[in-house]
Symmetry: C2
Subunit: 213 residues, 2 copies
């Protein structure tokens, strides 16, 4: 099977918003209450970092698929941290503490150079260039496995615009946010290029599963 | 996380029947038309043995979870072959050809002795004893990973009766069979011991996801 680029457990509000525009160190998702978006995932047994308890129904199939056959992740700079401009604070090593959940090479997209570093099983690389160039590097590093596109909103949009995404799992929460960074006006925008299964979950979110036509 | 015993992609008709009573070499599921039960699975990209094409929506989440973190399988004798009584035909090595999809040790439950043998990455062992004893052997062989309970109907029933099953995925097809080997009169029979998510799929089957209370 081909080496896919996959989006997993990406959360948006019912009006398509994945994050606020006003990210800070204290509020990685800006004014958007990410607990309300992500609560379905936190409740599951296989949410990254959880070690006991949790549900094992439908929602858990999605959280446990996150790591399956993944050899690298690509993320936007804003997923890695709230800083903008040149990297002045090399002490900042992401939001995830000493044991980031990725356990693969991670490619952080940025216009500013910074040396790679390793935390536990995860190595972060800082790379510029177009989405296709970054994807080529991530595929090379993934050792034949798939590559996960980790977000945030602008990064997913850039890879969709470049037609590089093979599958997407987007959980739409029954919460309206009003303004912020939008993934879409409607999931129907992707139907010219993707099949779509729409799956309501007992937890209240609606899973949207896209795969290429 | 504990070492689980998991049932995956187990198919029954709308009246709870998983196989006919009249199994033969030509008809592994007896009079039951297994193509009608399994068609949702055959259509997916990750059905065992499929190498290209296939859907990647909801149904594929179930077929691709089949191998995740599994270190051994337990199956009943009737899943392995149509023979009854002592093993007279050692030429018979199961229904799956030279490359069985299991790729782990497989424990075939039988009252009759037979030497183990290996085909590609799969080794078949033939074991007697109670479900709990067979599960202990399979756990030992699984090297810390989970154990899959592969069926058929009588085997799943025996492990449910012994309260050894941790999670079950049962796909209920919109087909009535009338008579045969029954998994249940109704999925509600398991609700005293299990949580249940009921998930209708666009393909027409209804996935039933059970996990322990």
């Amino acid at each position: 099977m081909a080496q896919l680029l996959r989006v997993h457990n990406f959360n948006v509000s019912s009006d398509g918003i994945g994050a606020g525009e006003d990210q800070t160190l204290e509020r990685p998702f800006g004014h958007v209450d990410h607990m309300r978006l992500f609560s379905w995932g936190f409740a599951t047994a296989h949410w990254p970092g959880r070690t006991e308890g949790g549900t094992m129904g439908l929602d858990d199939y999605f959280t446990r698929d996150w790591a399956r056959d993944i050899g690298a992740e690509i993320m936007g700079r804003n997923k890695f941290g709230p800083q903008r401009g040149p990297w002045e604070d090399h002490e900042w090593q992401g939001w995830w503490g000493d044991e980031p959940p990725f356990r693969t090479p991670v490619f952080v997209m940025t216009h500013h150079e910074r040396p790679s570093f390793t935390l536990s099983d995860t190595t972060f690389h800082f790379v510029g260039g177009e989405p296709a160039e970054v994807l080529a590097q991530a595929r090379e590093a993934a050792g034949g496995k798939d590559v996960r596109l980790g977000g945030g909103v602008s990064t997913v949009r850039a890879f969709l615009d470049a037609d590089l995404v093979d599958t997407l799992h987007v959980a739409v929460s029954p919460v309206k946010v009003g303004h912020g960074l939008k993934l879409w006006e409607s999931p129907d925008e992707l139907l010219d290029r993707y099949h779509l299964d729409v799956v309501p979950s007992p937890s209240g979110v609606t899973h949207h599963l896209f795969w290429r036509k």
